[in-house]
Symmetry: C2
């Protein structure tokens, strides 16, 4: 048994935000928590972000994860929607700031590739693999399983980079993103 | 003398964030505070956002503004840079959440038009008008004067909308500019 570590995966959006927390002990992953924070569409953008941001802070205060992984989402149709995705991401990241938590980013294809073995897997395939890896059913929607998948991706990627040497880890965290796409 | 109100203008960026706080009493505007929060380029994106976000929260806690105005920035070259602008905006907005502060957005041309009378004014012209309106020199850079200009824009636009009713806010911004010139 190695030391225990908590990883929080976040799948940010301005209407819904998926959160999945897993605990890694040695080679074992265990699901600690999952939630889809949703904000009613009747609220303004800022009203929704407030609901989402405040709930996320509560969750982080409660779970106290050591590391946070977010998807380096980038499937925006145009600059305007990229801007809105960025705002949602900024609000999610803000909930983590000042808590000494390290933040890591993964491309969607990297998450899918590490979790399912296939970079273009669909949400249902990701959900099935998350269930297999963690050994129990997730009753929440795809936003939750996507967030858990990001956490699993991080837990297993860091494992690889620990094997490959800390120089790489340092470089990755300094850049604020994990550039270890060659690692898996 | 009307009632007093504090407006905080924010010009968000991922390397520097301009903050300008003005107080409006009746028809008089007074500069309360201005700062350019900067984060050294050697830090990662998240490191910089952490420095900026935490300092902004401190400022908001200290100044306790009733309303916050941000520029509806949108001069991104491409979707990628729009995404990064969005993240910076999300972090700035997060600092305001859960404090009961109202957030307002203004297009850059609207800010320039209300403050200088010309929607395509450059940063130097904006700085000069901010100095004239508030009656003293701003020694900080354009990030600070831009932020103050956003606060002035909001203070005077709201004034007009109080007089004319909210349906006419957009059409009557020209009057907001004229009334701001009587203020210095």
């Amino acid at each position: 048994m190695g030391k225990q570590k908590r990883v929080l995966g976040i799948d940010p959006g301005s209407h819904r935000l998926g959160v999945g927390c897993i605990e890694k002990t040695g080679n074992t992953l265990r699901l600690v928590f999952a939630e889809v924070i949703s904000a009613p569409a009747r609220h303004s953008l800022y009203g929704r972000l407030e609901i989402i941001g405040l709930r996320l802070r509560e969750i982080i205060d409660q779970l106290v994860p050591e590391e946070i992984a977010v998807e380096d989402i980038f499937h925006a149709k145009n600059a305007r929607s990229a801007f809105h995705l960025g705002i949602a991401r900024g609000v999610a990241i803000s909930a983590c700031l000042g808590r000494g938590v390290k933040i890591f980013e993964y491309a969607p294809t990297q998450v899918k590739s590490i979790v399912t073995g296939y970079g273009r897997a669909d949400k249902e395939q990701v959900k099935k693999m998350v269930r297999l890896i963690l050994g129990h059913e997730i009753t929440l929607g795809y936003d939750a399983t996507d967030a858990i998948a990001i956490a699993i991706c991080h837990a297993n990627t860091v494992k690889v980079s620990e094997h490959l040497g800390s120089a790489q880890i340092r470089r990755e965290t300094e850049n604020g993103r994990l550039s270890s796409r060659k690692n898996p």
